[in-house]
Structure formats: C-alpha cells, structure tokens
Amino acid sequence: MSLPPPDPEGRRPKTVTAGRVGVYAFLVISAAFFLIPLWVMLMTSLKPMEEIRLGNIFSLPKLWTIDPWISAWSGACTGLECHGISVGFMNSVQILIPSVILSIAIGAVTGYALSFWRVKGANVMFGCLLLGAFIPYQVFIYPLVRLFAATGLYNSLLCVVVVHVIFGLPLMTLLFRNFYQGIPIDLFKAARVDGGSFWSIFLNVILPMSAPIIIVATILQVTGIWNDFLFGVAFAGRENLPMTVQLNNIVNSMQGERRYNVDMAATLLTALVPLAVYFLSGRWFVRGIAAGAVKG
C-alpha cells in the first residue's frame, strides 16, 4: 500500500529533473570549450621555452616567468625594429578614442533626426544606411584607397579614423534609432511646444535619456574598432599601425627560434582591452546585442 500524497502546503519542494541536469551539463561543457584556449595561452605565456618544448600545454608552469610578457610589450621584433607591441598599443588608443567618440556622436544625432523629425524620405535614407551595413567592407577598400590617395589623406591617423566613423555609422544609427523609437513621441511634442529647437531638444531632453544606449554603443565600438585589422592595415600607414597589425607582424616575423611564450603574451596583451570590456560590462553587452536587432 502506498502512502497518500501529502497535503500541499507552503513552498513547493525543489526537484532535480533530467532536463535541468542536461542544461547545466551543456553550459559547463561549452564554457570549458571556450575557456581551454585561454587557459593554454595563459599557461604558455608564463612558461620558459624549455618547458614549452616538453609539450604539456595544459599543465601549470614549473618555473613561473614574467619575461615573455615584458619582451612582448617592449622588446619583441617586427622585422628590424624591436620595440614590442607597446607601439601598436599607443596607435590603437589614438585610433580608438576619436573613432568611438565621433561615430557615437554622429550616430546619435542621425538616429535622433530619423526617429523624431520625420524628414521627408527618412525611411528611404534609413533603408540605404541599413543596406550599407550589409555590403562587405572589402568592396569599398580599393575605391576608398584611391579616394584618400587623391585627397592626400591616405596613410594617416585621420584617414583610418574617418574610415572607422563611416563604417560605424550604419550600426550606430540603427542602434540609436531603435532606442529612440521606444521613447514616446509625446515627449518630443512637449519639447516642441515648449519651444525647443533641433539641437536644444537633443541636448536637453533626448541626450540625457540616452545613457543606456550610449554605454551599449561604446562597448560595441570599442571592441569592434580595437579588434579591427583590415582598416588598420589598409589605411593607417606604417607609422600608425594598430596593435592587431603589430601583433600579426610579431607573430609572423620568422627569425630564429619561434618564441611561443612571447607570442601568447603579445596576443593576450592585445586582447586585454576587449576582454576587459566584456568582463566589466557583461549585462550591458548582451543588451547591446539585443538592441542591435532590427525591430519595428
């Protein structure tokens, strides 16, 4: 004889189901899958070359060393010059800051104008902009090189910044437009009745509400521009090569012994900025991906 089921009372007891276990198993495995390369890189970068040659790529270093990191930062050679990756770091920062600020500022204003001011043909303009976001960048490179060469801007910091701003514009505009579509139009009407102009409404009413989307845009642009290789190689010129290009040059310069620990350290150094952005802004980053989706 089985017991009658208990009379339910209070909180329902938690049960472990097969589905739960499966979900967690999947999450743990996929987390491990993405963490293993990072682990191997980190371990390799902290070992001397003798230990690396033994081939135990997963093991902790027996002899911990920071030398590969120092060498990667300031001593590794790209061809004939041996200044490490630090040069590229400074270049990347110089490219990053104006590109991020300009692309976000222009994207915000464009998004604002498209959502609130109902310019004639706004939808067509927006459609063109979206189309621009889907055309492969490679198509534009040769014409742009010719264009910049003709104007004398080619191979300069300004050149690569302009390229980043132009190519960032579709996504930035989309992001801000979608965000502003969610703001009740009444707010804009009220500001119009109160006598606000195009710029005063933007600066006094709309911009102060835009903090969440500005954070999201910053995350997207910082990681995107920092990770860029193509535009850096094509437009920046020898003096201004960004960190990613510098890294490639270090890793691929074939002279003597291949120093895996230095390569790994240089790679980690290059990845540090986007990595920091991911870690510091996980929640916002996911929100940014969701906000970037086309809606409405």
Binding site: A190, V193, G195, S200
Partner: protein, 358 residues
C-alpha cells in the same frame, strides 16, 4: 482675443486625407471638447492646431492671428498629453521652467511663475523631485503645471486623464474645471473618448466620427436633442435604447409602432413631421423609461445591475431588449413581468435610412 478659428483645414498622411475641409470656431475662454471614438481624427485636429502636424489646406487662427505656418512655440499654446510627457531627467521645477528657459525668460520671472503655478496645483512640495518619483496623478498635475507657466492663450489637452484610475480621474477632472474657471479668458480644447469627461467639462462638445464633426453643441443639447443616431448612441451612459419601426398610418397624431411596441408621440418631438409609413428609429434613454405602469407590456426583467444609487435593468420581450435606469429602494427581481412606461416627450425619432434626427 484668445479664440481659435479652424477654417477648411485638411490634414494628410501621405496620400491619405485624415481630415478633409474641417471648420470649427471657438470663442475666447470657451471650453470645447472634441469627443469621439479612436481614429475619428480628434487628436489629429488637436495636433494640427498645436502646429505639430502640417496642414495640407486651409488655415488656423489663434487670437485672430493666422498661425498656419508658425512653429508650435509661436502659437501661444500649451499642451498636456495622455502620457504626461515629462522630461524624465529633469526635476519637476526644471520640467516646468524648460519652456520659459527656451524663451529666454529672466530667471526671477521664471521663479515667480513656477511658484505660482505650483501653488495653484498644490505641487509645491514636489518641485525638487524627479518624474519617476511621482504617482500618475502627481505627474499629470506637473504636466498641467508645465502648461500653466507658459501663460498661453489656448490650452490643448490630449486625453489627459486616460492613463489614470477612476478616482484620480474624477479628482483631476474637477481640478481642470476649476482651473478653467480661475483662468477666465483662457480657451481650452480637450480631446477625449470619455463622454462623462466631455459632458462635465465642456461648454460645447464637438462629437467626431469618420473625421467629421457630427454635432457641435452644448452638453445638454447633445444629450436631449442628438443630431443623429451616432451622437445619440455615443453620448450618454448607459446607451440610448433604439427601436426600429415606422410611423403608424391612419392614427390620430404622431404614432411610432413596430411588431412589439407602439408609442404615441407629441408633435414637437420632430422638427418636420414624417410621413405615415416612413421607416424610423425610436430612441429613448434608459433614464426616461419607468419600470412599470405603462403600455409596453409583456416584458420580463432579464438582468439587474445594481449600482448603489440606482440600478440598471434589462427588460426583454422576445428579441427586444430594453435597458432602464431604475431608482427604487425595492430590489428588482429577475423574471418579474413589467409594463414599461417610456416618456414620449423625451423620445427621439431618427430617419432609419440616413440616421438623421427627424
């Protein structure tokens, strides 16, 4: 001179004409309500008066001045929105003074006007809070305050109470009415789909449907002499009872009849007496029918909705269902046979075909 004149105005969204050749004259200090179901063009008209929508044709005069091509800020208007539309990152004080700041009003002047408006609306203690720290009713008060400081000639209200719960709605409705009385010469144009708001607030109501004004008149007039079936059905709650039938032939005097009931009517119910045999619709308001002691027999009480002060009763005979408002201390029992007594002097007759009042 704070009147508003709308002259043959058309508004179009692309190829679609939302308002077509509409005219409306509003006197200084008048409280006019644009009443209608959603999509009737009432908000569009309000936005056109505000200058937030461009008109395609016609012109708009405010205070006798042609403002058809003027910016909203130059029209001497203030506007209150359904969604409050407070600037979320500004304090109440900043919200109220934003318009004055934009107009480059001297700071001392801004201070006095904000203080005065805040006192009128009893929101002085809220001045340093942010909109998200306020309740719905407080927010709408602030929105009204923001309109008040502008010293506008015309106030435009776009369904300002629709987002509030019933009790707050009554409270703020009274407040708006009081405000209108205190301001005196300020014209107010108020858009709503709530006929109680319209009846209680308006000097005149413009009932709109299908982008046209169906009837323009005092609340009383709309209630007692609706111009057509739509107005008759839209104004008044519960709804007017409609019975389709015809004018009886051969009877002495005016007589309505159908298969279920008949009613002898005084001649002054109609402006122009209809011909015998004409198809007409009889309209009688629930409050103008007594439950018993009349000639409409054969009805039984179907449903009773007690409201406290009175009760709404549905009486039914075959397929005819009639609603009455009954004031009685005796509870009405479902199933009781009743002989309804409509008041013929308060009946309305409409041409069934055109829907117009006869």
């Amino acid at each position: 001179m704070n009147g508003v004149n709308v002259k043959d105005v058309s508004v179009a969204f692309g190829a679609l004409k939302v308002i077509d050749g509409l005219s409306l004259d509003i006197a200084e200090g008048e409280f006019i309500v644009l009443l209608g179901p959603s999509g009737c063009g009432k908000s569009t008209l309000l936005n056109a008066i505000a200058g937030l929508l461009d008109v395609e044709e016609g012109k708009i005069l405010i205070g006798g001045r042609n403002v058809t091509w003027e910016e909203p800020k130059d029209r001497s208007i203030a506007m209150v929105f359904q969604s409050y539309a407070l600037y979320p990152r500004m304090s109440v004080r900043q919200n109220m003074s934003f318009g004055l700041k934009m107009a480059k009003t001297p700071r001392a002047d801004i201070e006095t006007r904000v203080t005065r408006a805040a006192e009128m609306l009893q929101i002085t203690h809220l001045l340093d809070r942010r909109p998200d720290q306020l309740s719905g009713g407080q927010r709408q008060r602030v929105a009204i305050g923001r309109a008040l400081v502008r010293d506008a000639a015309v106030f435009l209200f776009d369904e300002p109470l629709s987002n509030l719960d019933a009790q707050l709605r009554n409270e703020l409705r009274l407040e708006i009415k009081r405000l209108h009385m205190e301001l005196g010469s300020t014209t107010m144009i108020y858009v709503t789909h709530d006929q109680i708001e319209a009846m209680t607030l308006a000097d005149r109501i413009a009932v709109m449907k299908d982008r046209e004004i169906q009837q323009l008149g005092a609340p009383d007039e709309l209630y007692h002499r609706p111009a057509n079936l739509f107005v008759a059905g839209f104004v008044g709650s519960p709804k007017m009872n409609f019975l389709e039938g015809r004018i009886a032939a051969g009877a002495s005097g005016l007589m309505f009849e159908n298969d279920t009931v008949s009613l002898s009517l005084p001649d002054d119910v109609c402006a122009a007496p209809p011909a015998p045999g004409q198809a007409v619709t009889l309209g009688v308001r629930p409050e103008h029918i007594a439950l018993d002691g009349g000639t409409w027999d054969g009805f039984r009480v179907d449903i009773v909705e007690p409201l406290g002060a009175d009760a709404l009763v549905w009486a039914r005979r075959d397929r005819t269902s009639i609603q009455l408002r009954v004031t009685t201390d005796e509870p009405v029992k479902v199933g009781t046979p009743v002989a309804l007594a409509p008041d013929p002097r308060r009946a309305n007759l409409f041409d069934t075909e055109t829907g117009r009042r006869l």
